[in-house]
Symmetry: C2
Subunit: 252 residues, 2 copies
């Protein structure tokens, strides 16, 4: 049975948007902080991996959000590596409020990258076993982001990679992709809606000095949904789909 | 005598640059978090101010850095409002490592903004007295950022305000100005240098849907120094000067 790790976090101003809710990019930063805390506790932190020439990369997030945490709220984040196969580890996060009510869950897929070749490598028992995840041959077939059907009808915004977007792995940190994805949507839409579900799939790395286009389309069917791509001249780097619910709260 | 407030923080991945040092924008976020903790303790938090139609804005930072904190380091942040006059509060921060050695100090100037008129208003005893700062008629004459002497010789980079740059005050959060200021310098320079001293003066607010130019020049005299401006078509929003020391450490 997988080891569960728990950590308490308090939401501060710099983690929030204008309406004093935790942003999706900062949520991801907090989740990865808790995941790294577990790895440290199990003596499998980043320095252990780097000494072996590898580091974790994240290939996929799937969010189910009942309510995003608010400014000054103290939340409990639980995480466990639930299952692994030769290439992937599936890690789950559950975020609860102080009374134990589930605010949101996030399912993620991790893989190991060789830091010199920048390619995925097989997981080793030495790296994975302390988490006590279940070994399985099964590669999960999960929901994928929807393709953009009509490129002409897209919102598009161009972003140049900034100096501080680059992390210790030498590529753009995941959280920044999420800002790019969302920031292609009109500000009036973002102000009046909150993500209720989303899937983000990462494919090719984005590096320093690159410029990317963030494309998005709004779907009409079954409530409010948007589909997204992050593209450069060379490749599609990331795809995502979100469903949204309308916010009632006014800007404070 | 001013009340001193102390808080311990641990530096996580999302606070660091590629070399695993705390970034200047994230340092500022942590300082303001600690300052808000003190205000909460004294029942003068943001909600207290908003109920009175005002909020703090920051007009000036002056940094003296011996060493920036590193990833996973636990630091102690001490702060106090040292002095105030009719318009300004001067607040000091001291950041120490776990053995009590001073890593850096930051002096700041706060003012109160009326949230409807967006103009500065006089401080009231009700708001200021719990901090036990010294009242003084004196308006401090502090070091100012140097003017840019030769506009033709500037590095320049344009930034569009992003959705998540806007904070609860409805304008671009201070930390983002600092990213813009630094990001106009070449990436090779930023990789090989660390700020040892700096002064940032904020003048006009930057709002959503604005586009700004971040200009910088490198001075030759007395070691390595840079001067900066953030401009829009309408105004100069911010000026800054930094002195730099060369880093010996390689990228990990």
């Amino acid at each position: 049975m997988s080891l569960v790790y728990k950590s308490e976090k308090t939401i501060t101003h710099y983690m929030c948007d204008r309406s004093r809710s935790l942003t999706l990019p900062m949520l991801v930063n907090l989740l990865l902080e808790v995941s790294e805390e577990q790895s440290s506790e199990l003596s499998r932190d980043e320095s252990y991996l780097k000494a072996r020439g590898v580091n974790w990369i994240i290939l996929r997030y799937e969010f189910s959000v009942s309510r995003m945490p608010n400014l000054k709220e103290t939340i409990n984040i639980e995480t466990r590596a639930s299952e692994y196969n030769k290439l992937f580890t599936y890690r789950e996060f559950v975020v609860k409020d102080s009374s134990g009510k589930v605010l949101l869950t996030v399912d993620t897929t991790f893989a190991l990258m060789d830091l010199s070749t920048r390619k995925m490598v097989r997981l080793t028992d030495e790296i994975v076993s302390p988490y006590q995840a279940t070994a399985s041959r099964r590669i999960r077939r999960s929901d994928k982001p929807k393709e953009l059907t009509d490129f002409d009808d897209c919102k598009q915004r161009t972003f140049d990679v900034r100096y501080f977007d680059i992390d210790g792995n030498g590529h753009v940190n995941n959280a920044h992709y999420i800002s790019w994805l969302l920031d292609s949507l009109p500000s009036d839409f973002l102000k009046s809606h909150e993500v209720s579900w989303g899937v983000i799939a990462f494919d090719k790395e984005v590096s320093e000095h690159q410029s990317i286009d963030s494309l998005s389309m709004r779907r009409k069917e079954r409530g409010t949904a948007t589909d997204h791509q992050i593209k450069s001249e060379a490749a599609v780097h990331c795809k995502a789909s979100f469903t949204w619910k309308k916010l009632n709260k006014e800007e404070h």
